[in-house]
Structures are given as structure tokens and as C-alpha cells.
């Protein structure tokens, strides 16, 4: 398998995520797009991890394992983020009856 294909896929996912974050105003969609970007990174990390394992297994039985470790960290952090973020969105909905992020600019005042 060529590593490039994973990279292209990850870039594609990441860009979709960015565009989603930039273009949409619905907080839940933005949230999902952020998750999408995180997962694009996860995908890349796993792919590179496999690549390094294949290249370095002769010398080191655990080569590339740290990439997969990072993935777990990211998943944990993402989960924590979801719980906090969703809570914020719920509170926001309660206050404004909307999940449009542009309403948040009233925080400025």
C-alpha cells in the first residue's frame, strides 16, 4: 500500500472539516467537523505508525507504536471535548433557542 493514498484521504477529510467549520454556523455541525479533522489526523497517525513498524521491525519490535499511542490520547481528549462541548451547546440552546454560533458574539458585550 502506498502511504500517499492515506495522506490524500486524510487531507481530504481535514479540508472537509475546515470548510465545514468555516462555512457553517450550526454549532453541532461545526462540532462534527472538528471531530472530522481530529479523525483525519488519527488516520494519518495510524498510517504512519504502520509504515514505521514495517520499516523498523527488524531492529525494534515496537517501532512506530508511539503513533498509535497518540491516537488513543486524541480519542480520549476528543471524548472529553465532546462532553464539555455538547454541554456548552445545550446551555447555549437553552439561552438563545438556537445553536447558531454567531449569536455568541454577544459574549463580547
Amino acid at each position: 500500500m502506498l502511504i500517499e493514498r492515506y495522506i490524500y484521504l486524510a487531507i481530504a477529510l481535514f479540508c472537509i472539516g475546515i470548510v465545514g467549520v468555516l462555512a457553517r454556523r450550526n454549532a453541532i455541525i461545526i462540532f462534527m467537523c472538528i471531530e472530522l479533522m481530529l479523525n483525519a489526523v488519527n488516520l494519518l497517525l495510524v498510517a504512519f505508525s504502520k509504515m514505521h513498524y514495517a520499516a523498523g521491525v527488524a531492529k525494534n519490535a515496537t517501532a512506530g507504536i508511539d503513533g498509535q499511542l497518540f491516537v488513543f490520547f486524541i480519542m480520549v481528549v476528543a471524548a472529553a471535548e465532546v462532553s464539555v462541548g455538547l454541554a456548552i451547546i445545550v446551555m447555549m440552546y437553552r439561552n438563545t433557542h438556537s445553536v447558531d454560533v454567531n449569536f455568541l458574539n454577544r459574549l463580547k458585550h
Binding site: I18, V21, L22, R25, I30, V101, N102, L104, N105, R106, L107, K108
Partner: protein, 638 residues
């Protein structure tokens, strides 16, 4: 033997005590007591001065080091008094005439309220103190202290009637004009310190200015002497700084007599006579001094011809006579200049006090057009005033003749042109003095009935000084009889010889041949006599009562010099100050400071716009920045 000379500090001490007592207790003491203390202190100084003078006459001199005034590193300026021929002579003039004028003032000022009377005497005493410091100082800094001190007292006394704004302005003008000269004096002192490291006149060890003067270069000498002369023009009212003196007549008349005729204004002559060595070494400066002196003598005399205020005539006459003294200094006739200081002190103090007596009798009327025919009502004043006029006109054997002709003789030897111009000035002097005399004392009375009714001779306290001064003005010249008339009779020259010894070594100012000198005297006396007779007859019969027209108006308006100064200096300075204060300070200097503040405010307002509060914007900004970082990192090669 020197015991008496140790008492030199007493001379200025008495007037200082007088100043403190009359000043601090002016409300508690009665008027007679104030005048006794004020005059008594000066009399005490006079007595000490006479003692000192007799000692100096025996050839003893002394420098009294009281304490260190300023000493730093190698520079040491002691508070020291020097008593020698020159200073002892000036002591006599100052304290002697000072006492007479104090006595006169006690009657002249008797209408003043008690505390103002005390204030007047304390100022007068302070003046005498400062003037004594000036002539007693053993170095230029002490002289400068007295120099500024007399300027201050002159300011206080001119503005003595402080309710009058005009008088206040005159006082201010006097002080500021003097300050301009003082700056020159001060720079000259610094120049001496920078080059010689000392300001002491001379020391037995030979470390004084007059011992080391050969270390000075030509430029130094010219610079220092010119700067000292700038100081002298301020104090002694020479062109271009003379305009304050006529205005200074705003002060009470005894003040004009003491400060603005007899003593303070001659400080410049004292200073140059004291520094005679430096001036002899700088012939260039000498010619400047002579030229300025002569120009002032003539210029002031032309103005005096058309003045109608009795004190103004005398003021311009003083300026003119001071010009003669500077002419004398400029041609190297140091003794002559000092001699003229002395005789001038006699007759000009006399004239001013006489004028004061007239003004007193006329109830503060100073315009001579409203006087006339006073000779019968004021016999003593009239007689003494006439003696003063003859003395100043230079008629032998009165004192003015000897001193003025000594100066003119030396001037002739230097350059005949000086002499001719000088004689022209002397003729003008005779003319305006007798114009003044005739208009005031001859003819018929032109004042109001009420004034006529009140006309009276002044009290004894005023006439005694007049008589004493008249005697001095009449016979004072005999101590300086020229060689050409009587050999070895010039006592003053012998007395002052040690002071001018060094100058005479370098270059002895020459006198013309004896017969030439006598011819010169005859010319000047004849001219003066002619002028006297002309003026006497003309103005006794038909005094000049109308406003002058044509050229006479230019003279009466003092050649518009005040207006010129006003236009060239005062107005631009005020304009500049107004511009600086209302525009430059607020808009430019402070504007820059506030501009910095405003710039910070503006920038922050602009930067604040980035914080729109829209999440989308923040994210976009974040993404763009990350992209930019990415591009910089990977695509921009170093």
C-alpha cells in the same frame, strides 16, 4: 601702624546695621529717630573712611580677608576688602556725599508715612552698603556683588512710590538694562577665571589678575576689556544702554542725586580705572571706550537742550558727563576720569539737590516752563544752583573746569578730533545748563497763584547740604591744578600714582605742550562763556514755552531711541513669547506628546476590530495563520 586699616570692615558694616534697624523697625521708630540712625550710620562710615584715608595718604594699603566666599579646587575667591588710594577716595565720595544726602532726605521726605519713611532710609542705607562693597572688594566677584546690589537698590528706590505703574516700569527698565551689562561683566569674570584662575586684583605674591596680565593673549585682553566695558555701559548709562537713566528720575530726588548722579553711575568708571592695566594693554578697546564715551557725551547733550523737566535735563547732563569720563578713560587719562568723577559728584549732587529744593518748594512741579523768577524766593537754593551750573560749565576756578580740561587736554594729545568734539559738547553743556538756570530762576514766575503763595526756602536740613556741596563744587578742583598752570600742584595725580603705575610703565598717556594746553583751555572757556551769556540773556527774557517743532521735536523726543528699542527688542520679544506660549508650547511640544498618546489610542482602536466576537472570523483567522506558518516553514527558502 596698620591698626586703623584693620577697621575697614566697619565702613560697610555701619550702613548694613542701619539698613537692618530702619528696615525691621520702620513701624516702631519715629521719623526723627529713623533719620538719625540712617544718617548717623553713614556719618560713622564717613568718619572711619576719613581715618582710613589719612592712613592711605601716608602710603599704607591693606587687604582684609574676611572669609572664604567661594573656593573650589584651585579657584579661591575670598570675601576680601582692599583699601588703597583709589578705593579710599571713592569711600570718601560715597560716604561723604551719602551722608549729606541722607541729611537732606530727612527733610525732603518728611511728608511720607512713618513706615515708608523707614523703608526709604533702609533702602538708602542698603545702597550705601552695596556701593561700599563695590569699591572695597578686593576681587571682581566682590565688585560684582556690590555691582548687582546697587542695581537692586536703584530698582527699589526708583520704584519707591510703588503705587504708580509708570514708576514701576522705569524701575524695571533700569534693572533690566543693568542686567544686560551685568551679563557682560559676568562673562568677563569667567574669562579671567578660565585664563588666569583668579579674580583677585593683585597679591603680594604676584598671583593676582594685574600681576599675571601678561599671560593673556591679545584676543583675551580685547575680549575681557570689551565685556567689562559692556558692564560699564549698563551701569554708567552709556550708548547703547543709557535709556534707563532719564527714566530713573521717577525716584525721589535725593535718590537721583545719590545714585543716579554721584555714586552708582560712576561705578563703571571705577571698574575701568581699577582695571586700568588691562585697558592700557588693549588699545583697541581703549579707542572703543573713547568713541562710545564721546558719542554719548554729544548725543545726551543734544537731547538735554530740549528737555523741559528739570530732572530730565540733569539726567541727560549726567549721561553726557559720564561720557566725558569714559572719553578720559579711553585716552588714558585715568586720573582725569577719576578726578571728574569726584568733581561731578560734587556739582551734580548739588544740582540735583537744588532741583529737589525747587521741586519741594513748587509742590512737586518739575516742568521748568511753569517756574521762573525763583531767585528771590529761594536765595540759598538759587546761589548754590548757580555755583553748580558754573562748575559744570567749566568756568575757572570752579571744580568742573579742572577735571574737564584735564580730560580734554589728554584727548587732544591722542587725537585733536576728540578734543574738538569734546569742546563742542562742553559748549552745549554750558548752553543747556544756563537755559535751565535762566528758565527756572530768572524772568517772572509762571506758576499758579497757589504755588506762588506757598513758595518758600527749604529747611536747614536741606540747605546745609546744598551749601557744603556748593563749597566743594567751587573749590574741589584745586587738588588737581594742571602742571601747565602751576607745577607740582596736581595733588590727586600724586596720590593716585600707585594705582596707575603699571599702566604708566606700559604707556604713559601724553599731555600736549604747556602752551598748547593753555590755548586749549582758553578756547573751551571762551566757548563756554559765550554760550552762558547767550543762554542767560535769551531765556531770562523769553523762555521757550511752546512745544518744540521740527528738529527740536526730534531732540525733545530723545531721537526716538526708546521707540526704536521698543520696536526692535521689546515688541518682537513679547510677540515671540506670545507665539511660544499660545501656539508652540500647546500645539507643537505638547502636541507631540499628546500625539504619541493619540497614536496609541488609534492603533488600539484599529487592532480591536479584529476581535469581532464572531467565532467564524476567529477560526478563519486561525486557519489563515496556520496556512501562513505552513507556507513560511516549507516554501520560503532562507
Amino acid at each position: 601702624m596698620n591698626n586703623v586699616l584693620h577697621l575697614v570692615w566697619l565702613v560697610p558694616f555701619f550702613p548694613l546695621v542701619g539698613f537692618l534697624i530702619t528696615g525691621l523697625l520702620r513701624k516702631q521708630l519715629s521719623k526723627p529717630l529713623i533719620s538719625i540712625i540712617g544718617s548717623g550710620m553713614v556719618l560713622a562710615s564717613f568718619i572711619v573712611s576719613v581715618l582710613l584715608f589719612t592712613e592711605v595718604k601716608n602710603g599704607n594699603t591693606y587687604v582684609a580677608n574676611l572669609f572664604d566666599f567661594i573656593s573650589f579646587g584651585t579657584l579661591s575667591i575670598p570675601f576680601a576688602f582692599q583699601i588703597d588710594q583709589l578705593s579710599s577716595l571713592f569711600l570718601l565720595i560715597i560716604t561723604g556725599i551719602g551722608f549729606l544726602i541722607h541729611l537732606y532726605s530727612s527733610a525732603y521726605m518728611h511728608e511720607e508715612r512713618n513706615e515708608h519713611f523707614g523703608r526709604f532710609f533702609s533702602y538708602l542705607n542698603l545702597f550705601v552698603f552695596s556701593m561700599l562693597l563695590l569699591v572695597l572688594g578686593a576681587n571682581y566677584v566682590i565688585m560684582f556683588i556690590g555691582w548687582e546690589g546697587v542695581g537692586l537698590c536703584s530698582y527699589l528706590l526708583i520704584g519707591y512710590w510703588f503705587k504708580n505703574v509708570e514708576y514701576g516700569n522705569a524701575a524695571k527698565k533700569a534693572f533690566i538694562m543693568n542686567r544686560i551689562g551685568d551679563l557682560g561683566f559676568l562673562i568677563a569674570i569667567f574669562w579671567l577665571i578660565a585664563k588666569l584662575g583668579t579674580v583677585t586684583y593683585s597679591t603680594p605674591e604676584g598671583t593676582g589678575v594685574f600681576d599675571l596680565f601678561q599671560k593673556l593673549t591679545r584676543t583675551d585682553l580685547i575680549g575681557i576689556t570689551l565685556l567689562l566695558f559692556v558692564g560699564a555701559t549698563g551701569k554708567s548709562a552709556q550708548i547703547p544702554l543709557y535709556t534707563w537713566l532719564p527714566d530713573a528720575m521717577a525716584g525721589p530726588t535725593p535718590v537721583s542725586a545719590l545714585i543716579h548722579a554721584a555714586t552708582m553711575v560712576t561705578a563703571g568708571i571705577y571698574m575701568i580705572a581699577r582695571s586700568n592695566v588691562l585697558y592700557t594693554m588693549a588699545p583697541y578697546t581703549q579707542s572703543v571706550v573713547a568713541a562710545v564715551g564721546l558719542a554719548t557725551a554729544l548725543f545726551a547733550a543734544t537731547i538735554a537742550i530740549k528737555q523741559n523737566d528739570i530732572k530730565k535735563v540733569l539726567a541727560y547732563s549726567t549721561v553726557s558727563q559720564l561720557g566725558y569720563m569714559f572719553l578720559g578713560l579711553g585716552v588714558g587719562a585715568y586720573t582725569g576720569a577719576v578726578f571728574h568723577v569726584m568733581t561731578h559728584a560734587f556739582f551734580k549732587a548739588l544740582l540735583f539737590l537744588g532741583a529737589g529744593s525747587v521741586i519741594h518748594a513748587m509742590h512737586h512741579e518739575q516742568d521748568i516752563r511753569k517756574m521762573g523768577g525763583l531767585s528771590k524766593k529761594l536765595p540759598i537754593t538759587h546761589a548754590t544752583f548757580l555755583i553748580g551750573c558754573i562748575a559744570i560749565a567749566g568756568i575757572p576756578p570752579f571744580s568742573g573746569f579742572f577735571s574737564k580740561d584735564e580730560i580734554l587736554a589728554f584727548a587732544y594729545a591722542k587725537d585733536p578730533l576728540y578734543y574738538y568734539l569734546g569742546v563742542a559738547g562742553a559748549a552745549m553743556t554750558a548752553f543747556y545748563m544756563f537755559r535751565l538756570y535762566a528758565t527756572t530762576f530768572r524772568g517772572t514766575f509762571r506758576g499758579t497763584e497757589e504755588q506762588k503763595h506757598h513758595l518758600h526756602e527749604s529747611p536747614a536740613a536741606m540747605t546745609i547740604p546744598l551749601v557744603v556741596l556748593a563749597i566743594l563744587a567751587a573749590v574741589g578742583g584745586f587738588i588737581g591744578i594742571p602742571e601747565s598752570i602751576m607745577p607740582d600742584a596736581h595733588k590727586l595725580e600724586h596720590f593716585l600714582e600707585p594705582i596707575f603705575a603699571k599702566s604708566n610703565e606700559i604707556q604713559m598717556a601724553a599731555l600736549p605742550e604747556h602752551h598748547t594746553e593753555i590755548n586749549l583751555m582758553v578756547i573751551s572757556v571762551a566757548l563756554a562763556l559765550g554760550m552762558i551769556i547767550f543762554a542767560w540773556f535769551r531765556y531770562s527774557k523769553k523762555p521757550e514755552l511752546n512745544e518744540p517743532a521740527g528738529f527740536g521735536k526730534v531732540l525733545a523726543d530723545k531721537w526716538y531711541i526708546d521707540e526704536l528699542y521698543n520696536f526692535v527688542v521689546v515688541k518682537p520679544l513679547n510677540g515671540l513669547a506670545r507665539f511660544m506660549n499660545s501656539f508652540f508650547e500647546k500645539k507643537v511640544v505638547d502636541g507631540m506628546v499628546n500625539g504619541v498618546g493619540r497614536l496609541v489610542n488609534y492603533t488600539s482602536r484599529q487592532v480591536r476590530l479584529l476581535q469581532s466576537g464572531l467565532v467564524g472570523n476567529y477560526v478563519l483567522l486561525m486557519v489563515l495563520s496556520m496556512l501562513a506558518l505552513f507556507i513560511v516553514k516549507f516554501f520560503i527558502k532562507k
